[in-house]
């Protein structure tokens, strides 16, 4: 990919103020997204993936309990700083989002065609009839059979996979430069998951949009990503192109995640149970000192990993890693 990145996120931090104290949900996160690229954001539940995407869309609750700092430049415009009316025009236009829960993400009392047409009309200069035509075309594009007849169906008439297609049609209605897909396949059956991933890939090739794909499923990552950002405890811990990351993970956390994926070719030959990373993601109110991952890390050195916090450093021109020992471990 050439030219400036379409999305450039710099030092994004999100804090929630709760009765139990300040909760840093995302800390100092920076990443870039090139045009047409797919960046997978990976991590366990609670690693800050979804909060990151909601912060970029400015969909976090607008009250004093939430503090978002940093910059998110979409083609040079800072999504976190522009006034709300301008942001509203970008939302669903230049940057759009598909959510995890297709079952509850559509308005139950409005026909699906009208919901897609609404998105079209909001951002494009089309009259009602033309917007409806366009909605039918989009529903057909995302593979809804007999799309024209289904326009007047309500969400409850459709299966989860079909609803997610409607959500995708809505998100694509204005040719966004960036699509944020927040675990779009997690709630779906495995066969439907594959169909939706294929659809997203096909649509991406067609429109050239860049995709931020949030998931905890490494199988899905291997399927769709160009580059991977691994998050842990609200921080980026490793960032690398897909192949090098999968073949030679630098951060012990990434390595642990990869080891805990069940593999067909090892079935029956593996001795013992599937390796899992021991312990749980840290409570963001009580982050461990030093490296946030050290309590769960098989390679942690007492007195070193629990004392100094590692910084995200460049491992080569395309990779970044946050680990005090990555050089020793890689050797």
């Amino acid at each position: 990919m050439s030219g400036a990145p379409i999305l450039d996120v710099r030092n994004l931090s999100v804090r929630f103020r709760t009765e139990g104290g300040d909760v840093p949900a995302v800390s100092d996160l920076s990443f870039t997204l090139d045009r047409g690229e797919t960046l997978a954001v990976v991590g366990e539940s609670g690693s800050g993936k979804s909060v990151t995407s909601l912060a970029l869309m400015r969909l976090l609750p607008k009250d004093s309990a939430v503090t978002v700092t940093g910059q998110a430049l979409l083609e040079g415009r800072d999504l976190l700083a522009i006034p709300e009316p301008e942001m509203r025009k970008l939302r669903g236009g230049a940057i759009s989002m598909v959510f995890q829960e297709p079952m509850t993400s559509l308005n139950p009392t409005t026909p699906v065609g009208a919901q897609v047409a609404e998105a079209v009309q909001l951002h494009r200069d089309l009259d009602r009839r033309a917007a409806r035509e366009e909605a039918a075309r989009l529903l057909d594009l995302v593979g809804i059979p007999a799309a024209r007849q289904r326009m007047d169906d309500y969400p409850h008439h459709l299966s989860g996979g079909m609803r997610q297609r409607v959500m995708i049609a809505m998100a694509l209605s204005c040719d966004p430069g960036v699509l944020i897909a927040d675990e779009p396949t997690t709630a779906l059956d495995v066969t439907i998951q594959a169909q939706i991933l294929d659809l997203l890939k096909r649509l991406q090739e067609r429109t050239g949009m860049a995709v931020v794909f949030i998931t905890h499923n490494l199988g899905v990552v291997a399927e769709i990503a160009d580059r991977v950002l691994v998050m842990y405890g609200g921080r980026a811990v490793e960032q690398a192109p897909l192949r090098p990351l999968f073949s030679r993970p630098l951060m012990p956390y990434t390595a642990g995640l990869l080891r805990s994926v069940p593999r067909m070719e090892l079935a029956g030959r593996r001795a013992g149970p599937l390796p899992a990373i021991p312990g749980n993601v840290p409570d963001p109110r009580h982050m461990p000192p030093g490296c946030v991952f050290h309590p769960r890390c098989a390679h942690h050195q007492p007195g070193r990993c629990d004392a100094a916090a590692p910084v995200l450093e460049a491992a080569d021109e395309a990779r970044e890693v946050r680990c005090l020992r990555w050089r020793e471990l890689a050797a």
Binding site: F99, P108, M170
Partner: protein, 316 residues
């Protein structure tokens, strides 16, 4: 759909018969009765009284009286008032207009104001407006209506002398303006409590809806905030209100006993109260059947409306 209707109507009829039995029994078991009304205060002989009892059928066993009343009611003869011999259906009919006028005004006011207050309260939750609305609703709900009525009469009729203290119109006048002046106080007092109820229902329904995923979806596709509220949230939040409306229908016509009494409003509520104290059995039973029918029709109507408004509901 037609199966649903037939089943619901069948259930309603059974319920109506049960209500009539229980009502009839309680009414007749209550101490006193029309005969003691006739006996007191006039110079009737025992013979006269016996003749009246025979005429009205009050000397027969209760089940027989009930069967007779029930059979006649089915044929459309609801009996005659003991007080003036007027046919019961006519008596009810002549009081219905006053009640409808008062209740429709109060309910419309309450729905409009209550829905607006509830919606605003939900959108600006914990704001000063919301807190005031919540406290106001609690006060309106916890203070008895008759007290509000008396205070309103004291302030607006006695003290300020702006509005009449009761009745539906000034005898000999009855112009629209006169009717309106008489309507304002009782409608205001009634609407106060109902507004409190509607605003609380609407607030909680709206709060439910604004936290739903599809509202976030609407935001994510760039829908302006005002349109999110009006098009996406309001419609979904208003659905449960249909049920509330259905439950309100009987009070709409059954009358507000207390308010009508305080403002000497010649409606169904006062008719019911007067008829009970006079032991006017036919009228009391008539009103009872009338309101029971309304309760059942109201809930049926609410279900039907709900099915029309909510595409997810299929009656069957």
């Amino acid at each position: 759909m037609s199966g649903f209707l037939a089943r619901r109507l069948g259930q309603s009829l059974v319920l109506l018969v049960l209500v009539s039995m229980v009502g009839f029994a309680i009414l007749h078991l209550a101490p006193g009765g029309p005969m003691s009304q006739f006996a007191s205060g006039s110079d009737m002989t025992q013979e006269d009284l016996d003749r009246i009892a025979e005429q009205l059928g009050l000397n027969r066993p209760l089940p027989v009286q009930y069967a007779e009343w029930f059979w006649r009611m089915l044929q459309g003869d609801w009996g005659r008032s003991y007080r003036d011999g007027e046919a019961v259906l006519n008596v009810i009919g002549s009081h219905l207009g006053a009640t409808l006028q008062l209740m429709l005004t109060a309910t419309l006011l309450a729905i409009i104001i209550g829905v607006v207050i509830g919606t605003l309260g939900a959108i600006r939750r914990h704001s000063i407006f919301d807190t005031l609305a919540t406290v106001g609703a609690m006060i309106a709900l916890s203070i008895p209506t008759f007290w509000f009525g008396l205070v309103a009469i004291y302030v607006f009729s006695v003290w300020l002398d702006w509005l009449p203290s009761g009745n539906r119109f000034t005898p000999g006048d009855g112009s629209p303006l006169d009717l309106l002046r008489h309507l304002i106080l009782p409608a205001m007092v009634l609407a106060l409590v109902e507004t409190a109820i509607w605003s609380r229902f609407m607030r909680s329904s709206m709060l439910d809806v604004v936290n739903q995923d599809y509202i976030r979806t609407a935001r994510a596709k760039g829908v302006p905030e005002a349109r999110i509220l009006l098009r996406h949230a309001f419609r979904n939040a208003a659905l449960p209100m249909i049920t509330v409306l259905g439950l309100q229908l009987p009070t709409l016509l059954g009358g507000a006993l207390v308010t009508e009494t305080v403002f000497t409003w010649p409606g169904m509520g006062r008719l019911f109260l007067d008829s009970i104290s006079y032991r006017d059995y036919p009228v009391v039973m008539g009103i009872l059947m009338f309101s029971a029918t309304l309760v059942l029709l109201g809930s049926l109507l609410a279900d039907l409306l709900h099915a029309v408004a909510d595409p997810r509901i299929r009656l069957g």
